[in-house]
């Protein structure tokens, strides 16, 4: 079976250098990083990192164990698709002349994207959603020239209250 994307949620002490410790571990042990995002949680001492990675079940198990071993790590667990919600934000700057503009806006509306900047030759669209939704939207824009693209990478949370990590 081909390796599928797996999403990990990692809670870490907000110490200096912690993101480099995590990403360094992935790099030196040869674990793939598809995307990585980080930001503080409601508790400013704690940072939540979401990593999208690939690997067979042995590698996934090693990732969990090796990351757990880092002294700064409070918790790591996989956000399984059926129990979690993932979101990614993309900002897309498309070349659009006055007569193309309405078509692009119509496409953006279908994807509940919003126009966040307009210039005589371009539009900037903000789209939020799962990775596949953003990929689909970018596919629809293939007839247009994408001038610049910024994707944040995936952030995710488990559904409901079952897997909440309560910190002291």
């Amino acid at each position: 079976m081909a390796d599928q994307n797996r999403v990990f949620q990692i809670l870490v002490e907000n110490n200096s250098g912690v993101l480099s410790r995590i990403s360094g571990l992935f790099a030196r042990r040869g674990y793939n990083i598809e995307s990585i995002t980080a930001g503080v949680t409601a508790d400013p001492r704690v940072t939540r990192i979401t990593v999208v990675t690939t690997g067979d079940s042995d590698i996934i198990e090693q990732i969990e164990k090796q990351v757990s071993k880092l002294v700064d790590v409070i918790d790591i667990h996989e956000l399984k698709p059926e129990e979690s919600v993932y979101r990614e934000l993309a900002m897309i700057k498309v070349r659009a002349t006055a007569d193309q503009r309405q078509n692009v806006i119509a496409l953006a509306n279908i994807f509940r994207g919003s126009i966040i900047d307009v210039s005589p030759e371009s539009l900037m669209i903000e789209v939020t959603g799962g990775t596949s939704k953003i990929d689909a939207f970018l596919g629809l824009l293939s007839g247009y020239e994408i001038l610049e693209l910024a994707r944040t990478g995936v952030a995710g949370l488990g559904r409901g209250t079952r897997n909440v990590i309560y910190l002291d």
Partner: protein
């Protein structure tokens, strides 16, 4: 009180006896404060040795070894020593001076990002920004280094933080690390499963790694195997877990191990892997060995379990603790038949070996290194420490060393040449009453030969044997087999006259040129508690 005073006071609170190190401006406040503290300092001749000496000290004392050096090149020289300790899970606290915190990040004189550089081979590292944090950080560093899977911890302290005044010094009683809680007690269900499998199997085998020494579990394991007559093999790092001449001990496994030990691994139907990583040099094809075998893998580090071999029964916890649980009740099992089968394999092997060696030893009348190791270790005191360097000398040592209540130290994971002399020095300081012998090749000896000065300065009576073949033997051997005798970069022509080196340091010198004189010279070498340099001429064509 200054930040430097606070570090010293914290080290005192941790019961530190020795600091191995080398000064420089960035660590001068520390070495100023240490005067009169009662902590003894050992000035090494190159920073790498500070870590190796701390490592030898830690392995024999069971305490945390401490190395303290300056910023920049002092810190980077320490790296090989830190990586060596990390690979073998040796508890160290390494303190490095750093440039002024206002200059950090601007490529100042003797500035190196040592915590960044060491990231992948320390257990944890700190950069101290606030002098008030010193007591907490030192407390945490010693705790992290010495618990769970042990290892080196780095503390990088800028010069100005060492100089800064602090208001009060409160050394914390406990650590408060919510993220770091190593598992000590083995899971009761898993322990029961191991016992159940033991009842079911016919040919169980214990394979002991370095973790057995780190956890102080040798006694518990010995009790366990003797109860049921379970054979035991070890990895290189596990050597000495039980005496090598113990009837149940079947030597070292792996590609440098003994065939009867490896055969035991193949034929066993249950392997209890204890404190071993199942690394490439021990178990070449883990899946192949384990296919029809029940594998119980016991380690304090959960990440080691399943990394290289999928276990049937994973068991995380402190080994000493777990074997105490194993030994709590008596099972009605006896595996003497299986142990006797293995003893037969062992006898066959030695009979064959004796024939082969009879041919080899003839050459030039030189002593065969394997014979030398056996003769030497047989004559050593029962609780002596044998420190092997890296290369052929290491492999001859671990295949042939005779261990009773002693210890065998070597750089097993990293294979760092030059480890033996400084590690022996550290070991001797940890146990002044024990005999400590370093065995090196002429390559490894020249890597850290400068440490003879430290040995002389502090009058540390370690015994050093150098197997001399004027070549980098293990690489040469590899080129002999793998490159059909195309020898490249292995000729050590230009090496110094070791007798004159010994004389230059005023160290007594002994020499073995012919096998016939070995017995007598070894006797003289081991006599008395004094430093001696022994040169043993060996055949460069001898292979392990």
């Amino acid at each position: 009180m200054t930040g430097a005073d606070a570090i010293i006071k914290s080290l005192q609170k941790e019961g530190v006896e020795y600091v191995f190190g080398y000064p420089g401006v960035a660590i001068c406040p520390f070495y100023n404060s240490i005067l009169g503290s009662g902590i003894r300092t050992v000035l090494v001749r190159q920073e790498q040795n500070a870590a190796h000496e701390a490592s030898g000290y830690a392995r024999i004392s069971g305490k945390v070894g401490v190395a303290v050096v300056t910023s920049g090149p002092g810190a980077t020289n320490l790296i090989t020593g830190i990586a060596t300790a990390f690979a073998d899970s040796i508890p160290l606290v390494c303190i490095t001076g750093q440039v002024e915190s206002t200059i950090m990040g601007s490529d100042g004189f003797q500035e190196a990002d040592i915590s960044g550089a060491c990231e992948s081979f320390v257990k944890y590292s700190y950069i101290v920004r606030n002098p008030q944090d010193i007591p907490r950080i030192v407390k945490e560093a010693f705790h992290i280094a010495s618990t769970g899977r042990k290892g080196p911890v780095l503390i990088d302290i800028p010069h100005d933080v060492q100089m800064a005044r602090i208001e009060r010094f409160d050394y914390p009683e406990t650590v408060n690390l919510r993220t770091y809680k190593p598992t000590v007690e083995g899971h009761a269900v898993q322990i029961r499963k191991v016992k159940q499998e033991l009842k079911r199997c016919k040919r169980p085998l214990v394979c002991a790694g370095g973790g057995v020494h780190l956890s102080g579990a040798c006694e518990g394991i010995r009790t366990f195997i003797e109860k049921y007559n379970i054979p035991i093999v070890t990895t290189m790092m596990g050597l000495g877990a039980v005496p090598t001449d113990h009837p149940l001990c079947f030597g070292m496994v792996g590609n440098n191990g003994r065939p009867y030990g490896n055969r035991a691994m193949k034929e066993a139907d249950m392997v209890i892997m204890v404190g071993a990583r199942v690394a490439d040099r021990s178990i070449r094809e883990p899946d192949l060995v384990m296919e029809d075998t029940v594998l119980a893998h016991i380690d304090v580090d959960p990440a080691e379990i399943g990394k290289n071999a999928g276990p049937t029964i994973p068991l995380v916890g402190d080994i000493e603790h777990i074997f105490r649980e194993f030994n709590r009740e008596d099972l009605q099992e006896d595996f003497s038949d299986w142990a006797n089968t293995l003893a037969g394999y062992r006898e066959d092997f030695y009979a064959r070996l004796a024939e082969e060696k009879a041919e080899q030893t003839e050459k030039a009348g030189m002593i065969h290194p394997a014979d030398f190791v056996r003769m030497l270790s047989r004559s050593m005191e029962d609780d002596a420490v044998y420190v092997a360097d890296v290369g052929q000398n290491q492999l001859w040592s671990c295949q042939n060393v005779i261990m009773r209540e002693g210890r065998f130290l070597t750089s097993g994971g990293m294979g760092t040449m030059g480890y033996a002399v400084p590690a022996a020095l550290g070991a001797k300081l940890a146990a002044p009453d024990r005999q400590v012998v370093a065995v090196c090749g002429d390559g490894g000896f020249q890597m850290n030969m400068m440490e003879l000065a430290t040995i002389c300065q502090y009058e540390v009576p370690v015994k050093i044997a150098v197997l001399r073949n004027n070549t980098l033997g293990l690489v040469r051997q590899h080129q002999h087999f793998a490159y059909k005798d195309r020898y490249s970069m292995v000729d050590l022509t230009g090496s110094p006259n070791l007798e004159k080196i010994a004389e230059a340091y005023s160290i007594p010198y002994l020499h073995i040129g012919r096998a016939s004189e070995a017995e007598a010279v070894i006797g003289e070498f081991l006599a008395g508690d004094r430093t001696v340099l022994l040169e043993v001429e060996i055949d460069p064509d001898a292979t392990v």
